[in-house]
Amino acid sequence: MSEERVASLRNRWFTTSVGLAAAIALVGFLIGFLWLPLAQPGERFRGVWDAICSAAGLLHTPASSEQIVAADHPTTRVEVIPQMLDGADAVSIGRGATLALRCTMCHGARGLSEANSPNLAGQYSIAIYKQLVDFKTGARVSAVMAPLAADLSESDMRDLAAYYAYLPRLSDSSAIHPPRIVASGAPLRGIAPCGACHGEVGAKAGAAWLEGQPVAYLRTQLEAFASGARRNDIDEAMRNVARAMTPQEIDAASRYYAEHP
């Protein structure tokens, strides 16, 4: 081809376009990384390099005065991942069945309670495992459960979770229309639909399957979350929700889940 070379310092198009692009980037850099950060009255930079690093998005190392404040009560140590308990085998379920013999007094022979304590049959294994760990560490307080969970080993808790998840749930035959708080929540009070995490609309890892649980249990737990007596919920999700709920909504949600096995 007889065309002139583009990538050459003698080509005015090349020098002008590259020069302009570089100049704009440079001026933008000077303003964005030097002038603007240093002009912020609230920022305390230790020199120019610190300002540049901050503008680039590098994390500030906390000064020694900024100590992390520890909670004054035990917090959960369970990091919930949706796949964390996948792949439980028959041995694990069998061991869980044996261990569960000591739970039958309250939770029923096949995981179905007749004593207003939660039904565990068919409950998500992550929910059971997390509550057991929290009872053991004291993140969730219960005079009954704490001594029972105290000497459970890690594998005991996994086996129990696997066993109860394996048991059949109460069968779902009714078709009750869910109340608004369950189906839609209350958007302006920051309440997500109960059903978004606890079944009906969706399910989130760590959240329990609520359908068929005793109404007294559900109501007590919502009230405990609201008052702060129970505080082992992840990221305070349930405390924030329950605090914003009216007593009527607590009642409606508890009744709906209890009557909808």
């Binding site: 376009s17 980037a25 950060p37 998005g57 949706p82 189906a183 399910a203």
Partner: protein, 559 residues
């Protein structure tokens, strides 16, 4: 083979005007694109209705998010990509005046896009991929959804490669001759897409698909958002480019004028290539993982995108003025009245400019770090990109379809009244849809929610504008129905041999073009260099920072 030889012979004998091997290819692209558009439009209007005060709260919000995902995925990835591909093949044959090189590859690319679209839609319909078209990790849906997306992109990359191959071969056979402007612009658009799709492709291939297939449990949403922003803004310019090509190469010819400046056109498209890429982080202004300095830098380059758009507005207005004066218009404004307003191309570009003006003004607010804080993630944003894309850009897709249809079908298309009604309704519907959206966005209405409690005094005043938007959407549905009627009229009209297709001719047709404006190497180099300057550090930093991955949330796993 024999047929093809004969066609080439005919071409040679008639001086290269009757070249046309890709009619069915282009029609296949257009029909598939418009079919997707029609379906997704109905979903959009349903969404408008179901979240308005006219309907009871939706019992299962999941259905709403399914619909949003299907609407967005189809409208953002399938519809404009297929239009750009089909129009690109059309421009290649008509402007280079020779058969498309790689026709079989082009059909293969189309097939990939079709298969990919089906793979995308099925998991969405089953509720297994309600992740919205922006993916939003740590939400992760069914792997088929993402694999389908990759197939659509790979199909379009075949088009990207074919555009460059055709240009390269033509230049080799015509040394020193100026590349026809429509082809220059089309290749610029294809290269822009080729590069801008890389960001989302990296995100999907290396971050999301391994999780969707169960090989990994965690994902870094910050990195994913930065990579997606690489694609998210320049993709808009990729959508825009067929419309801009129509501004420059169809409208002046269709209304009997001349293109004011061929050089100005080339500079505009070259600038789009350079400044469309290093700006995407203005989509992550509120994201903590990106430093304020880079946000500012991207803001600066976003401001520069106004330059090629203003150059285009100036050039096109001047070209239209030439048409007005050639038709006898006199005086400072007299030429406006002399314009052929009953011509769909004239009407289309005028309405497109109106929407581009309002949408562009809104965009300047979005790109400002400070002003964005007010409207970030509100309905304002939805209003903005509908006005620009669904309005200013898509109305020109209609004009492209109307202008090329007789040449694709070999049948006349003369229902001008229907076309005008369709274009008017599209513009009116889009304004009635988006202006109230902008307003409720300023009032603070969040986007992408399945229901709103309009009985609450805090948001009760958003109810009326939302109802107006529903009406705007209904007008758009009517307009789309008219559009399909026009196309079907064209498919069933009696056969007629249209004259050879022509693009606009410049006032001074180029005899020699500077090498920098006769190829795209320089601009491609600048595009890549600026991408590295503006994205290199944020991406490297996100990869190098430990402890940023979070557990993936599998969408639609269990209920």
């Amino acid at each position: 083979m024999l047929n093809r030889t004969r066609r080439v012979l005919v071409t040679l004998l008639t001086g290269g005007s009757a070249v046309w091997t890709g009619k069915r290819l282009v029609l296949a692209h257009f029909w598939f694109a418009f079919a997707g558009f029609g379906g997704a439009l109905l979903l959009g209007e349903w969404q408008m209705f179901i979240r308005s005060p006219l309907a009871a709260w939706i019992g299962d919000p999941e259905l709403y998010y399914r619909s949003v995902t299907a609407h967005g995925t189809t409208m953002a990835y399938v519809f404009p990509t297929l239009v750009a591909m089909g129009f690109g093949y059309f421009v290649t044959e008509q402007s280079l005046k020779r058969p498309l090189i790689g026709l079989h590859w082009a059909w293969f690319g189309w097939a990939l896009a079709v298969i990919g679209t089906i793979m995308v839609i099925v998991p969405i319909a089953l509720g297994r991929a309600s992740v919205l078209y922006t993916f939003y990790p740590p939400m992760v849906g069914n792997a088929f959804y993402y694999i389908g997306f990759v197939l659509v992109v790979v199909g379009s990359w075949i088009w990207v490669a074919l555009m460059s191959v055709n240009l390269y071969r033509w230049k080799r056979d015509n040394p020193g001759a100026p590349v026809p402007f429509p082809m220059f612009a089309t290749v610029a658009g294809s290269l822009l897409w080729g590069w801008t799709a890389v960001g989302a492709a990296l995100e999907v291939l290396f971050q999301i698909i391994p999780v969707a297939l169960g090989w990994r449990d965690t994902i870094d949403p910050g990195l994913a958002r930065v990579l997606f922003s690489w694609t998210l803004h320049a993709i808009v310019y990729f959508w825009l480019i067929p419309s801009y090509i129509a501004y420059y190469t169809i409208v002046p010819r269709a209304i009997g004028g001349r293109l004011f400046s061929d050089t100005m056109g080339r500079i505009s498209f070259a600038l789009f290539l350079v400044v469309a890429m290093p700006i995407g982080i203005h989509h992550t202004f509120e994201d903590p993982q990106v430093g304020a300095g880079f946000k500012y830098l991207h803001s600066v380059f976003t401001a520069l995108v106004t330059v090629p758009t203003l150059l285009t507005v100036f050039t096109i207005c001047a070209s239209v003025e030439i048409a007005g004066r050639l038709r006898g218009g006199k005086g400072v404004f007299g030429w406006l009245g002399a314009l052929p307003w009953r011509n769909p191309a004239m009407l289309g570009i005028a309405l497109s400019f109106v929407m581009l003006g309002f949408g562009g003004a809104g965009g300047i607010i979005n790109m400002s770090y400070q002003l964005d804080a007010t409207i970030h993630n509100t309905q304002w944003i939805t209003g903005h990109f509908h006005l620009i894309f669904a309005g200013a850009i898509v109305i020109m897709y209609f004009v492209i379809a109307y202008d090329t249809w007789p040449h694709l079908t070999g049948r006349g298309l003369d229902c001008l009244g229907l076309m005008r009604a369709q274009l008017w309704l599209w513009c009116i519907g889009m304004i009635v849809l988006t202006f109230p959206w902008h307003w409720v966005g300023i009032l603070g209405m969040p986007r992408r929610m399945a229901f709103y409690d309009y009985t609450n005094p805090e948001i009760a005043r958003e109810a009326v504008p939302v109802i107006m938007s529903v009406i705007g959407g209904a007008i758009l549905v009517v307009s789309a129905v008219l559009f399909f009627i026009v196309l079907l009229c064209g498919q069933t009209a009696p056969r007629s041999e249209p004259e050879a297709y022509r693009f606009s001719v410049a006032v001074r047709p180029p005899r020699r073009v500077p090498a920098a404006l006769n190829g795209l190497g320089l601009w491609l180099g600048l595009m890549i260099a600026l991408t590295i300057v503006n994205y290199g550090f944020p991406i490297a930093h996100a990869i190098a920072t430990p402890g940023t991955a979070v557990p993936a949330i599998m969408v639609g796993e269990r209920r």
